[in-house]
C-alpha cells in the first residue's frame, strides 16, 4: 500500500501549516485543504445564486407570449450563461469543494497530496469563472451560443462578439483547473490514507470522488482541445469546424459530447457518494453492498465514456443502435445503486433529519430523471423529444432533483463539521418542502410541454400554441424555488451566528471526519481511531449509536 508507515498518527501530528493568520491575506494565500474547500463551496454557491437569478429572468420572460422583459439577444445570453454557470462553476466546483474538505478527513490525512497545487486549482477556477462571465461587460454581450456552443453558430461568422471568446478562454482555464484538481484527488486517495484504511475501507464518497477524477482526466483534455480548436477557428481561421472550408460541424459535436456526457456523471457521481454516506448513518445501519456500490460506480464511470453520441441521434451522422445500447445499459448500475440504497434503509431505524430528508428527496427526484433518461436513450423516442422541453425537464430532474438535492443534503450534513454549529432543523424542513414543491412545479410541466411540441431555447412562443398555462405554472414554481434558496441562505447565516454547537459528531457518523473536532484543527486530527472496517468511528464507540435512538444530536465530544 502506498500509505506511509511513518505517518502513524495515534497521537497528535505536528501541524504542517503556519499558525493561522486569519483575515483576508490568510484566505488569499491558504494552502489548507479545508479553507480551500470552504472557498470552493462559497464561490460555487455564489455562482449558483448568480446563474439562478439568470434563470428567474428566463422564467419570467416565458410566462407570457411576446417579449416583455428582454430581447432575443439577451434571452439567448441568459440561457447560455445559466447553463454554463450551473455546470462549470456551480455543480462541479461544489463536488470539488466537498471533496477538498472531506476526502482528506475521511481517509485520515492531514491535507491533500499537493496543497499548493490545490490553491492554484482554486484560483484558476475563480479566474475562469470571472473571465467567462465578463462577457456581460462587453459591447456585444455575453456568449449566446448555448452552453453546448455548437459550431458553426459559435464561429466568428455567426457570433463575432468578444463574449464567445471570453466564454472559450474562461472555460479553458476552468478546464485546466479541473484537470489539476483531479490529479490531486487521485494522488491523495491513493497515497495519503492512514494505515488500516485500505481501498475497500475508504468511504463510498471517496470512491465516487476517485472515479469522478478519473473521468475528468479522460474527458476534460478533450474539451480543452475542442475549445482550443474553436478558438483557433475564430481567431486565425483554423477551419476545423467550418463546412465552407472543409471543416466539419459534426466533429465539434463529437468532441463536445465526448466530454459532455461523462460530464453528466462527473456532476452526479460525487453526489451519489454524498447520499451513500448519509443514508446509512440516518438508518443506523452499514451501507448495504459496499463492493456493489464500488463496482457500480466503476461501471458507470467506464460506460459513461461510450454513450456520448446519444446526444446526436437526430444528426443522421452516428450509429444510433450502438449508442442506444450503451446508453441503456448504463441504467443498470444506476438501478443497482437504487436497490442498494433501499436495502440500506431496509429494517433500519430511519430518522428524517434534514440531511436524510434531502437525500430522500434526491432518491425520488433522481428516480424520475433516471427513468426519463431511458426514454431519451431510445432513438425513435428521441426523434420526437430531442431538443424539446422534455429534455430540459429530464436534465433538471437529474441535475437539480439529483445533484442539487444531494448538495443541500451534504450542506446540512457537513456544515456543522465545518462551522461547529448545527443548522436550524425547522428552517431546513421549510427549505426542503419549498424546494421540492417549487422544483416539481417548475420542471414537471416541462415534460408535457416538450411532448406537445415546445422546443428548447426559444425566447418566445405564440399564444396559439396553448403552452402558456403550463409555462405560468413553471414560472410560479421558479418563484417558490427562489424562496426556498432564500430560506436556506437565511438558515445558513443565522445558524453561523446562533446555531447550537454541533459537537464532534452530531449525527452518529461512521467515517473519520466525525472523529475530530468541529471545526477540525489545522492538522485535522488530534487522534485517529484505528481503522478495521469501513466504519472506524462506529467501531471506535463500540458499535453504539452515537446519538439517542430518536436521532436527536447527542453529546459534545467523541472519543
Amino acid at each position: 500500500m502506498a500509505t506511509v508507515d511513518s505517518r502513524e498518527r495515534s497521537t497528535a501530528v505536528a501541524p504542517q501549516h503556519d499558525v493561522p493568520r486569519g483575515g483576508v491575506v490568510d484566505w488569499l494565500t491558504t494552502t489548507d485543504h479545508k479553507k480551500i474547500g470552504i472557498l470552493y463551496l462559497v464561490s460555487a454557491v455564489g455562482f449558483f445564486v448568480l446563474s439562478g437569478l439568470l434563470s428567474l429572468v428566463i422564467r419570467a420572460e416565458l410566462a407570457a407570449p411576446g417579449l416583455q422583459i428582454v430581447g432575443h439577444q439577451e434571452y439567448n445570453e441568459l440561457f447560455t450563461m445559466h447553463g454554463t454557470g450551473m455546470v462549470f462553476f456551480f455543480v462541479v466546483p461544489t463536488a470539488i469543494g466537498l471533496g477538498n474538505y472531506f476526502v482528506p478527513l475521511q481517509i485520515g490525512a492531514p491535507d491533500v497530496a499537493y496543497p499548493r497545487l490545490n490553491a492554484f486549482t482554486y484560483w484558476l477556477y475563480i479566474a475562469g469563472g470571472l473571465i467567462t462571465f465578463s462577457g456581460f461587460l462587453t459591447a456585444g454581450g455575453a456568449a449566446a451560443v448555448g452552453w453546448t456552443g455548437y459550431a458553426p453558430l459559435s464561429l466568428n461568422t455567426f457570433s463575432p462578439g468578444a463574449g464567445v471568446d471570453l466564454w472559450i478562454v474562461g472555460l479553458l482555464v476552468s478546464g485546466v483547473s479541473g484537470i489539476l484538481g483531479a490529479v490531486n484527488f487521485i494522488a491523495t486517495i491513493f497515497g495519503m490514507r492512514v494505515p488500516g484504511m485500505t481501498m475497500f475501507r475508504i468511504p463510498i464518497f471517496c470512491w465516487n470522488i476517485l472515479v469522478t477524477s478519473g473521468l475528468i482526466l479522460f474527458t476534460f483534455p478533450v474539451l480543452s482541445a475542442a475549445f482550443a480548436m474553436l478558438y483557433i477557428d475564430r481567431q486565425i481561421g483554423g477551419f476545423f469546424f467550418d463546412p465552407g472550408a472543409g471543416g466539419d460541424p459534426i466533429l465539434w459535436q463529437h468532441l463536445f459530447w465526448f466530454f459532455g456526457h461523462p460530464e453528466v456523471y462527473i456532476m452526479i457521481l460525487p453526489f451519489f457518494g454524498v447520499v451513500t454516506e448519509i443514508i446509512p448513518v440516518f438508518s443506523r445501519k452499514p451501507v448495504f453492498g459496499y463492493s456493489g456500490f464500488v463496482f457500480a460506480t466503476l461501471l458507470i464511470g467506464g460506460y459513461s465514456l461510450s454513450v456520448w453520441a446519444h446526444h446526436m441521434f437526430t444528426t443522421g451522422a452516428v450509429n444510433n443502435p450502438f449508442f442506444a445500447a450503451t446508453s441503456m445499459i448504463i441504467a443498470v448500475p444506476t438501478g443497482v445503486k437504487f436497490f442498494n440504497w433501499i436495502a440500506t434503509m431496509w429494517r433500519g431505524r430511519i430518522s428524517l433529519q434534514t440531511p436524510m430528508l434531502f437525500s430522500v428527496g434526491f432518491l425520488f427526484m433522481f428516480l424520475i430523471g433516471g427513468i426519463t433518461g431511458v426514454f431519451l436513450a431510445s432513438p425513435p423516442i428521441d426523434y420526437h423529444v430531442h431538443d424539446t422541453y422534455y429534455v430540459v425537464a429530464h436534465f433538471h430532474y437529474v441535475l437539480f432533483g439529483g445533484s442539487v438535492f444531494a448538495i443541500f443534503a451534504a450542506f446540512y450534513y457537513w456544515i456543522p463539521k465545518i462551522s461547529g454549529r448545527l443548522m436550524n432543523e425547522g428552517l431546513g424542513k421549510l427549505h426542503f418542502w419549498l424546494l421540492i414543491i417549487g422544483f416539481n412545479m417548475t420542471f414537471f410541466p416541462m415534460h408535457v410541454l416538450g411532448l406537445n411540441g415546445m422546443n428548447r431555447r426559444i425566447s418566445d412562443y405564440s399564444a396559439a400554441s396553448g403552452w402558456q398555462p403550463l409555462n405560468i405554472l413553471a414560472t410560479a414554481g421558479a418563484g417558490i424555488l427562489a424562496a426556498a434558496v432564500t430560506v436556506f441562505l437565511i438558515n445558513f447565516f443565522v445558524s453561523m451566528k446562533k446555531g447550537e454547537p454541533a459537537g464532534d459528531d452530531p449525527w452518529g457518523g461512521y467515517s473519520l471526519e466525525w472523529a475530530t473536532t468541529s471545526p477540525p484543527p489545522p492538522h485535522n486530527f488530534h487522534r485517529i481511531p484505528p481503522v478495521h472496517s469501513e466504519r472506524p468511528v462506529f467501531d471506535d464507540r463500540g458499535g453504539r449509536p452515537r446519538a439517542g435512538a430518536d436521532g436527536k444530536p447527542g453529546g459534545r465530544r467523541s472519543g
Binding site: 453492498g289 442498494n340 431555447r457
Partner: protein, 238 residues
C-alpha cells in the same frame, strides 16, 4: 394502434401523469414512435411505482421510534444483489430490441416517393423546393412559409442548411432530423391525417431561432395537385 384503443389508452395516460403522452401522430412513422413510447411509459410507470413504493415503505415502516435499539447490522446478500443487477439488465435489453425494431421502421427511406421536397434551412427561415415541379416556397422570421403536402403518399424531405445547424420538426409527425451544413440528410414519411400542422426549427440557431417556424397543410392528393398547379401559375406570372 386502432382508433378504438387510442382514447382508452389516452385516458389512462392522462390519469397517470397529467397527460404525459405524445400528441396524436399525423404520420404513419409517428404511429410506430407512439406505440414504442407508450410501451416505454408502461414499463417506466411499473419501475417508478416499484422503486418509489419500496422507498416509501422503508420510510414509513422503519422510521425510528424513541427507545429503539440498534437494528441488525446486515450489509450484504450476493444473491439479492445479482437479482437486482439482472432485472434492470433484462428490462433494458427488451427496451433496446424494441427500439431497434422501431428505429428500422421510422428510418426506412421511401424508394419511390411521390413527392420529394428539398428543404433548406437558413437563419431564420426555410426554403422548400418541390422537385420536378419547380415550385419553391420561401419564408422567414417575419413571414413564415406555408407548404402543402398530400396525405397517404410516401414523401421524402432532403434536408440541408445554408449556414448553421438547424433541425426540421413537425411535432405531430413525432420525428425530427437535423439540417447540418455540408451534409445531406433525408427524412421519409407518409402523412396519415389531413390537417394544418406547425413546423419548427429545434436546433438553436442564433438570434431569431424562436421565430424560425413554418406551417404544413396536409390535404388530399387531388387538392395537392391543384395547389401545385396554382403555385406554378403564380410563379409563372411572377
Amino acid at each position: 394502434m386502432s382508433t378504438k384503443q387510442r382514447p382508452i389508452l389516452a385516458a389512462a395516460c392522462v390519469a397517470a401523469t397529467l397527460s404525459a403522452c405524445v400528441p396524436e401522430p399525423a404520420d404513419v412513422q409517428g404511429e410506430s414512435v407512439e406505440r414504442l413510447y407508450n410501451f416505454f411509459f408502461i414499463v417506466a410507470a411499473v419501475v417508478f411505482v416499484l422503486v418509489a413504493g419500496l422507498i416509501t415503505w422503508s420510510l414509513v415502516r422503519y422510521r425510528a421510534k424513541p427507545g429503539d435499539e440498534l437494528p441488525k447490522q446486515f450489509d450484504r446478500n450476493l444473491k439479492l444483489e445479482l437479482t437486482w443487477f439482472a432485472i434492470p439488465l433484462a428490462t433494458v435489453v427488451v427496451l433496446f430490441v424494441l427500439s431497434a425494431q422501431v428505429l428500422g421502421e421510422v428510418n426506412a427511406e421511401s424508394t419511390n416517393p411521390s413527392v420529394t421536397v428539398g428543404v433548406e434551412g437558413f437563419q431564420w427561415g426555410w426554403r422548400f423546393i418541390y422537385e420536378g415541379s419547380g415550385v419553391v416556397v420561401i419564408g422567414d422570421a417575419t413571414e413564415r412559409p406555408e407548404i402543402v403536402l398530400p396525405v397517404g403518399q410516401p414523401l421524402t424531405f432532403n434536408l440541408e442548411s445554408a449556414d448553421v445547424v438547424h433541425s426540421f420538426w413537425v411535432p405531430r409527425f413525432l420525428i425530427k432530423r437535423d439540417m447540418v451544413p455540408g451534409q445531406q440528410n433525408s427524412l421519409s414519411l407518409t402523412i396519415s391525417e389531413a390537417g394544418v400542422y406547425r413546423g419548427v426549427c429545434t436546433e438553436f440557431c442564433g438570434l431569431l431561432h424562436s421565430k424560425m417556424n413554418f406551417v404544413l397543410r396536409a390535404v388530399s392528393p387531388s387538392q395537392f395537385e391543384g395547389w401545385l398547379d396554382e403555385q406554378r401559375t403564380i410563379d409563372g406570372n411572377g
